[in-house]
Amino acid sequence: MAPKNFLGEFEQMLLLAIMRKGDGAFAVEVRRELAERTGRTVARGAFYTTLDRLHAKGYLEWTTRPVDDWRGGRPQRHFRVTPEGLEQLHRSHAALTSLWQGLEDFEKRT
């Protein structure tokens, strides 16, 4: 059963950014993509805790790849949006689209 609540705005953005970077996107480039596309700075703390949360909900998964001596020898996570995550995104999108229906020329009317 799908959860009742919808993805938050930032959660949606994060998932979309991962999808834009393609499978195996890593954190540094996802954060950069977010910043470039949305034009706002992404607080690092919020970024990682949201990643954790989405992972905990099962909407994204990650694998690590070992690195050589760059990054101080520390491993790198590569992210992928899961089918559940994609479904959630679609749900959120559909909900928003349905709410917008009939309001496209709202501004013109008022």
Binding site: V28, R44, Y48, G58, T64, G72, P75, Q76, R77
Partner: protein, 907 residues
């Protein structure tokens, strides 16, 4: 960049490791940061990258710490995500929960007793605020150091000649070459020389800058790379090398609009075509506050031993010590002097840390005294809060006992009490930090225009913030631990029994008295320092200048030989200048001089015709100023005997004349007539012309800064010589005017421009402004010490009052019994007063002793007051006794008004 620079700050990394989830996830996050750190280091340099890393490490760890504190996986979220990711230790959660509970409980109690809480918070804010402010100042002035790599080995060399009473003078090129050749203690040894640079481009009018001429090895070896172009390379300090210039970042930005193609551009510097070869990074102003660097082009063959004009700067090898190198250089100098017996000898070089070259040891000493003083204030603040908490802990003895009886461990109870102090310290520390930040900003703004070494910066940085955190934790522990331990360390049975009888078994006793005595002692010592400073400020503000300073505006002009090759040209220029200034409507008078009176003066040696001197060292030293005509009339100084200079006495061809002051006349002429006598600058072998004394004037306050550092070092005897005796190229011009400053400055510049459109007028200011600029250091220390002293006084008074008031409250029952047994209100009053008086007396005695010791290094920054000034000491004792007695009397009177029936009925 070396490989070490590619590592993020290890402490920040440790912080992250501690805060982030352990294991793979945390590790990958640190890796991400590491990766971006390396990119930023490559783009913006390692310092920017380190700062960036710190910021992000703090942000991340705060976020994660907060998350674990809240226990972010709320039950609601757990329902949503049955496969919760990070398994969380229940123990950790429980500890967090109790800690939060403690804090909440503590906060509730503090709200219940707002007066006590506010007094505690305010006290802590005062203590921490003053400490952070002073620490940042001391850190920025004497601890941060010159921002170049290995600045602990960067040295400068200065010459002393005790025989000739010459101190800290420059070195000659000949000496420098000897040191380079014969000593192996230096990694590099170059020289700098200050130079005023008149910079002109084709588009812009000339402007005056502070430049430094340097040998080719100085910039190359300091370890700071240019952001554009290059610095000087070997061979470019040869006498026939082309003139080259490296710009500072701000001149490049402001004067050349950050022109990316600046390298290779030709400019005119002091009239000479010069090529710009590079731009240094922002903030680099070596050696003092410099705007640009030119290559020092020296002729090694033209090297008279005592043509001393350069300042050697070098870096010692890691194994060389200042003392051993000083000894080595002294031997080299002594050896060289024996081979050149015609040159004056007796010079002794001294190697010192470069940083100390521009930071006199007196200032450093004062800074440390100030830091010690402010720690004194902090201690008082801690003692106060401790006392207040002790008082409350006493009243809560029963609560604590009940908790213990119900099974709470001592640790648990202490932690509860400490968490209250933590709230107080946190609130006080935050308030203090904010106050200190604003004060520092205001302070930096106030001293922004003062010439000071470029690395002095009062702003807060990572170190100050870490220091603040340390201070807040220390205050919390200092003021919380003792009361907490004290109130829990007793058998609960006794307490419960005691409390049931309605009294307070917990006696403040010796601990509290000791704290009060300590407070009185520290504040007494600080007040003595403050008193000396306040008396000095009064002395400076009422100093008899001896001349009129209001309504006089001054500026400075300098002529370069490239534009004015002959001495006659220069003299003609100055003669025309002063004529035109006097003719300018709005200016009622004008005069030329080597420097404004009261600002600075040269020290000269001179002899009187007919007098004999046993040796060269016996020739009198005087303070000398070069002046033109109408100097004394413009500054409203009455000529006591004779007259001042007239126009015919100006210029090289005129008869040399001089004016002396009254101190000079009294000391060297006594009953002999001074006017008409002849004097000569220099010693026995002088070739200077004899100058006829034409007038005697009163003593003017002509020293290096009224009350500034070393203000009393200049001779009181003054002479004024006419402009014609020296071939001067730089002169200060002063006009007397009622016009607003902007108008007079504009007219002054117009007059100069009419004579020479390429000549800038600089250092434009009124005489009072100039005096202010030269007394800032003195006023700064004065205000700070006064602030510290009054803060200490205030805190001590609050502390004394708090302790006395509490002691009276907790002894209400005892007082009641005493009065019921027949003691009068007067007896009770004297009982309380006596206790206060004893504490006050012991504290004062200790404080006077500490104060007398503290006052000794202060003589460097005081003016017109002795370190043992009895009026200051007496005033402090009276102030403290009165404050102390008031603080004791109020609670004592309350005790005396106790109604025995009420006091006993409370049982």
């Amino acid at each position: 960049m070396n490989s070490q620079a590619l590592h993020p700050p290890p402490r920040a990394e440790r912080l992250l490791t501690a805060a982030l989830p352990a294991g793979l996830v945390g590790n990958t996050i640190i890796g991400d940061l590491h990766q971006e750190f390396a990119e930023i280091a490559g783009r913006r340099g390692q310092w920017a990258a380190r700062a960036w890393y710190w910021l992000h490490a703090i942000e991340l760890s705060t976020r994660y710490a907060w998350r674990s504190l809240r226990g972010i996986e709320t039950p609601y979220q757990r329902l949503l995500t049955p496969h919760s990711t990070v398994p969380r230790s229940e123990g950790r959660e429980e500890i967090m929960a109790t800690l939060l509970g403690d804090l909440r409980y503590g906060a509730r109690l503090l709200f219940k007793n707002p007066t006590l809480s506010l007094v505690s918070i305010f006290t802590m804010a005062l203590g921490t605020g003053l400490t952070i402010f002073t620490f940042s100042m001391v850190y920025g002035t004497v601890m941060r150091g010159v921002p170049v790599p290995n600045d602990d080995r960067l040295v400068s060399i200065q010459m002393d000649n005790p025989e000739r009473d010459i101190r800290q003078t420059s070195t000659s090129y000949a000496d420098l070459l000897d040191y380079r050749e014969q000593s192996s203690a230096f990694e590099f040894l170059g020289a700098v020389n200050w130079a005023t640079v008149n910079l002109a481009t084709q588009e812009d009018p000339p402007a005056r800058y502070q430049g430094a001429t340097v040998t080719d090895d100085v910039l190359a070896n300091l370890g700071i790379a240019p952001i554009l172009g290059r610095v000087f390379v070997e061979g470019e300090d040869d006498v026939d090398a082309p003139p080259l210039m490296v710009l500072s970042h701000h001149v490049w930005q402001q004067r050349f609009d950050s022109d990316p193609d600046i390298v290779g551009r030709l400019v005119r510097s002091n009239g000479i075509q010069t090529e710009v070869i590079g731009v240094m990074p922002d903030g680099f102003r070596f050696p003092f506050d410099h705007d640009m660097w030119l290559n020092l082009r020296l002729d090694p063959d033209l090297r008279p031993r005592r043509s001393q004009f350069i300042e050697p700067v070098g870096r010692l090898r890691p194994d060389a010590s200042m003392e051993s190198v000083t000894a080595e250089l002294r031997a080299i100098t002594a050896q060289a002097e024996t081979t050149e017996p015609d040159e004056p000898g007796g010079y002794r070089p001294t190697v010192q840390l470069f940083e100390h070259r521009y930071m006199p040891p007196e200032i450093t000493a004062i800074m440390w005294v100030m830091l010690a003083a402010v720690f004194g204030v902090l201690l008082i603040a801690c003692a106060n809060v401790a006392n207040l908490l002790l008082a409350r802990a006493a009243l809560r003895g029963r609560e604590v006992a009940v908790r213990t009886a119900l099974g709470a461990s001592r640790f648990r109870v202490v932690r509860q009490l400490l968490s209250e102090t933590a709230i107080l310290a946190f609130a006080g520390g935050t308030l203090g930090l904010v106050t200190a930040k604003f004060s520092l900003d205001a302070w930096s703004g106030r001293v922004a225009d003062i010439q000071k070494p470029y690395w002095i910066d009062f702003s807060m940085d990572g170190t100050s913030i870490l220091f603040t955190i340390g201070i807040v934790v220390a205050t919390a522990l200092l003021s919380g631990t003792i009361p907490a331990l004290k109130s829990t360390g007793r058998g609960m049975g006794a307490v419960l029994q005691d409390e049931s009888r309605g009294g307070t078994s917990f006696r403040l006793g010796r601990l509290s008295s000791t704290l009060v005595i300590g407070e009185v002692a520290i504040s007494c010592a600080l007040l003595i320092a403050a008193g000396l400073m306040i008396k000095s400020i009064l002395a400076v503000s009422t100093v008899e200048l001896g001349y009129r300073s209001d309504g006089i505006v001054s500026g400075r002009v300098g002529l370069f030989e490239s534009d004015y090759p002959e001495r006659e040209d220069r003299e003609q220029f100055f003669a025309d200048l002063v004529d035109r200034l006097r003719a300018e409507p709005g200016f009622s008078n004008a005069a030329l001089m080597s420097a404004l009176p009261g600002i600075e003066a040269a020290t000269w040696t001179m002899g009187i015709e007919g007098d004999t001197y046993e040796s060269d060292t016996d020739y009198p030293r005087v303070t000398g100023t070069i002046i033109g005509t109408e100097f004394f009339s413009m500054f409203d100084v009455n000529v006591l005997r004779g007259r001042e200079f007239n126009v015919s006495e100006m210029g090289a061809s005129a008869d040399p004349v001089a004016v002396i002051n009254e101190s000079f006349r009294r000391r060297h002429f006594g009953d002999r007539p001074a006017v008409g006598a002849r004097i000569r600058l220099g010693r026995s072998n002088s070739t200077n012309p004899w100058m006829q004394v034409v007038g005697v004037v009163p003593d003017l306050h002509v020293t290096g800064g009224v009350g500034g550092i070393g203000s009393d070092s200049l001779p009181r005897e003054q002479i004024y010589v006419s402009q014609g005796i020296f071939d001067v190229r730089f002169l200060t011009l002063a006009v007397q005017t009622n016009l607003p400053l902007e108008d007079s400055v504009k007219r002054m510049r117009d007059v100069v421009a009419a004579l020479d459109p390429n000549l800038p007028v600089y250092e434009v200011r009124t005489v009072p402004q100039a005096l202010d600029e030269h007394t800032w250091a003195f006023k700064m220390f004065g205000e700070l010490f006064a602030t510290l002293g009054f803060a200490a006084l205030f805190l001590a008074a609050v502390g004394l009052y708090g302790v006395m008031a509490f002691s009276v409250t907790s002894r209400r029952r005892e007082m009641g019994v005493r009065m019921a047994l027949g003691a009068g209100g007067r007896d009770v009053l004297s009982l309380v007063l006596k206790k206060g008086a004893i504490q006050l007396g012991i504290g004062l005695t200790l404080g006077l002793a500490i104060g007398a010791v503290l006052a000794r290094p202060m003589r460097f920054v005081t003016y017109g007051v002795e370190a043992t000034d009895p009026t200051v000491y007496a005033a402090i004792v009276v102030t403290l006794v009165v404050t102390g007695l008031i603080a004791t009397l109020v609670p004592a009177r309350r005790a005396a008004r106790v109604d025995p029936a009420t006091a006993l009925r409370n049982d």
